[in-house]
Symmetry: C2
Subunit: 227 residues, 2 copies
DNA sequence: GTATTCCGCTTTGTATACAGAAAGTGATGC
DNA sequence: GCATCACTTTCTGTATACAAAGCGGAATAC
């Protein structure tokens, strides 16, 4: 068991899990790629046992798949991605509605501050940073909605759509933060119906051209693969 | 790798996962119980390695928790259970709305048949069977809604609330199937608003007295523990 | 009698070994 | 040149070994 600086022990399996997740979110592991445990264990500087424990967790989280033998990165299938985005839409609408009911004024004030910073940062931000800011806004809304389970479900969906979202965000820098601002205004007004409509528009706007985004994602990962 | 009769290999880890899940759903593993891997491996007739792989999956699925050392069954905490039921409510409402849009006539016809059988069976059914029928109805709706991701999310929530649901169902045999009938009628009429309102009523009806159900669940598991 | 310490045993996280399955490679036949 | 086969190597699922951490009981001190 490795020790962190704060005296909290982090197991090798936990570390492998976190590092694998990073590899997935950075597209260092590509769709349909079959994972080689020996190489991966070496890469992550651990033995196969904690690595396999981490791989099993990621399978349960939907980030990896398990065949009869071995683990692999899921293919980018249109039907699955479509389902993921739709699930996200439904969950986000529920979350924003609950946030209208439950968010504290202090919480909304802090979110407005975050939004100001996001807007200031957007013109020069990398795509990774844009996504971070996007997720930050939505995750804060989820926290303000006061349902930890739903917040966790949203986080999982975010991981699973990360690549497609990255591509879509790259192609479309404009508008996200102003849409966030509009949504926040509705939440502050405790206008659930309005907030949900804007959230739906915001996410459907993103959903447009999922097939195109997936095709672009394939182009992107093939480019990565050629690296 | 064990062979099933149909030539599909089932790994020891897969088997352990399924058996552990069964133990959890049957309350053979109790809230807050610390798991002993050696005893459990012996009980499941496997070695610790595939057992730990299964345990890790169950942690990722929210059915178990992992401390700095070892695995345990989550405590029945009111806030978590409340969140789980609320998440289920939101998800089920989204599902029933999508089912209104997407369900085929044949699919709805089959569900009506299932409902007839469920109603016929209810007076003499065990609680386990009642829950199976309840879950069967909702899962079929989820299938008819045509979003596999959301169906999977619902299945996971169902696992996580199983014990509390069991208690609540035991205390309240009446009304479920007639409520299912009403919901199905709204879906057949493609009345999303009506269907969602009934679904909300159906689940909130269940949610009433979650604290009481959790207390009763504790009584139940203490009785089990004394076995 | 109670609190503390020590020691032996057990448990857990991880590394390594092993066996079977799968993949790769080279030789042979057509 | 291509297909097939046999052999070798590699990979994967699992069992086992090992070291560290934790627990429980006995001994000791007050």
């Amino acid at each position: 068991m490795a020790e962190t600086g704060e005296g909290t022990a982090v197991s090798a399996a936990d570390r492998a899990h976190a590092e694998l997740r990073e590899l997935l979110l950075r597209f260092a592991l590509l769709p349909k790629q079959k994972l080689n445990e020996v190489a991966l264990a070496e890469r992550l500087n651990t033995s196969r046992t904690p690595l396999r424990e981490a791989l099993n967790r990621l399978v349960a989280e939907g980030l990896l798949e398990k065949g009869t033998r071995g683990f692999s990165v899921p293919d980018l299938r249109v039907d699955v991605v479509t389902d993921l985005f739709e699930a996200r839409l439904e969950l986000e609408c529920a979350i924003v509605r609950l946030a209208c009911e439950r968010a504290t004024e202090a919480g909304l004030e802090a979110l407005a501050g975050f939004l100001d910073e996001s807007i200031a940062e957007t013109p020069d931000a990398s795509v990774d940073r844009l996504i971070e800011l996007d997720i930050g806004f939505h995750d804060t809304l989820a926290r303000l909605a006061g349902n930890a389970v739903m917040r966790g479900m949203l986080a999982n969906l975010n991981d699973r759509i990360h690549l497609v979202r990255w591509i879509a965000m790259d192609g479309r820098r404009a508008g996200t933060q102003s849409q966030h601002r509009d949504i926040l205004a509705r939440v502050r007004a405790r206008d659930a119906v309005g907030a949900m409509a804007l959230m739906r528009e915001h996410i459907l706007h993103r959903n447009d051209g999922i097939v195109a985004a997936i095709r672009a994602a394939y182009g992107h990962v093939h480019m990565l693969g050629a690296r």
